[in-house]
């Protein structure tokens, strides 16, 4: 499995569409390489959504973790473990890509 590297930048794939439904962010993959695809939707609630919204072309994973550590007054190790776990799941599903 591909590992998330803290000093790298990851961005949402251009093959997904996201939509906010009440307080959940639903990520819909566009799988144009399959015509009858049995697609899977991915849902992110509060913190996951906040992480997704920080995925831009300028912010490293390390920076996201540092900012969240301050915001939630939690240790950087705890925050990093949670952020990396989520990003690895998103990477595995090809919903995000290294920039």
């Amino acid at each position: 499995m591909k590992k998330i590297e803290l000093n790298k930048i990851y961005i949402p794939s251009d093959k997904v569409v996201s939509r906010l439904i009440e307080d959940e962010l639903i990520i819909v993959p566009i799988e144009s390489d399959t015509i009858d695809f049995d697609h899977t939707l991915f849902s992110l609630t509060k913190t996951g959504r906040e992480i997704w919204e920080r995925l831009d072309k300028e912010t490293t994973v390390q920076q996201i973790c540092t900012d969240f550590s301050k915001k939630y007054n939690a240790s950087i190790d705890t925050i990093s473990a949670d952020v990396v776990e989520l990003l690895e799941d998103l990477l595995k599903r090809q919903l995000i890509l290294p920039y």
Binding site: D33, I35, S43
Partner: protein, 296 residues
Amino acid sequence: MEKMYKKYYQTGGFIIKLNSELPFRKDTFNSKLKVFEIEPVKQEDIVINHFFNKSIDTNVNENDRIYFKKPWAVYETSESIIYEWIRSYEPYETFLRKIIANKDHTQLNIYNDSHLANVFKKGLLEDITLLPTDQFLLCRVLGFNQGCLFHSTAVKYNNKGYLFIGHSGAGKTTMAKIMKNDATILCDDRNIVRLIDNKFHLYGTWRHSDLGLVSSDSAPLKGIFFLNQSKHNRIELIKNSTQRFVRLMDHMVKSLVTKDWIESSIDIIQKISDDINCYDLQFDKSEEIKKIIFDL
């Protein structure tokens, strides 16, 4: 354009004009399609032109290819979507047919080869595009025109539309059998939901199950029911909006998925989810379920 023979159909609030270089016979299409045929009108929404034995060079560029899985190669240009039915072995040159469509598939030129000309002449066709299913057309048109197609059974009762959604084995055909004596079955396999004049309407299609129940009738959409066969009858309003959205998305029929199409389709799914009551329905295959549904 050379002389074209014409037929008109309607579903989903669309009028479809079907032109063909070859003449139509009484039995060119099967009896289910006949249900949706209408008299000629001056203004149509969708035009399909069938050409036979006419070669066309589409000048497609590999960089424009958005899909490639035998037997289809699909290309997207600034103006068109081009489908090429290709060989299943190298060289993958065009075989059987090419389709040149505008982006929302309201204009289709279908170039069929001599084999398909013979299929057309043989008759009893189930689909107006001569493809294995017309849903590639309907999905695309609906996605860009405030609608979507669902794996479902739909019925009209007391001028209200009821949509029963489920994948294969969920009970769509069973529900149609239960309902058929009291309600009009719009279709027992694929149905259209479309927003017209700010109201959702329900329409059947000619894509039916083995039961073969279809109607060209339509009705304002009253409720959506996600089917589960059970030992008891139970109905529960789905209050969670994410759950409604996800389940509707899961049962929407998808064909060629492009970013603009999926964004447009998501908009309409979200509006259906917001405006129409959705229920989780467990039913025991008995007639009792009818009263529970129609008393809502």
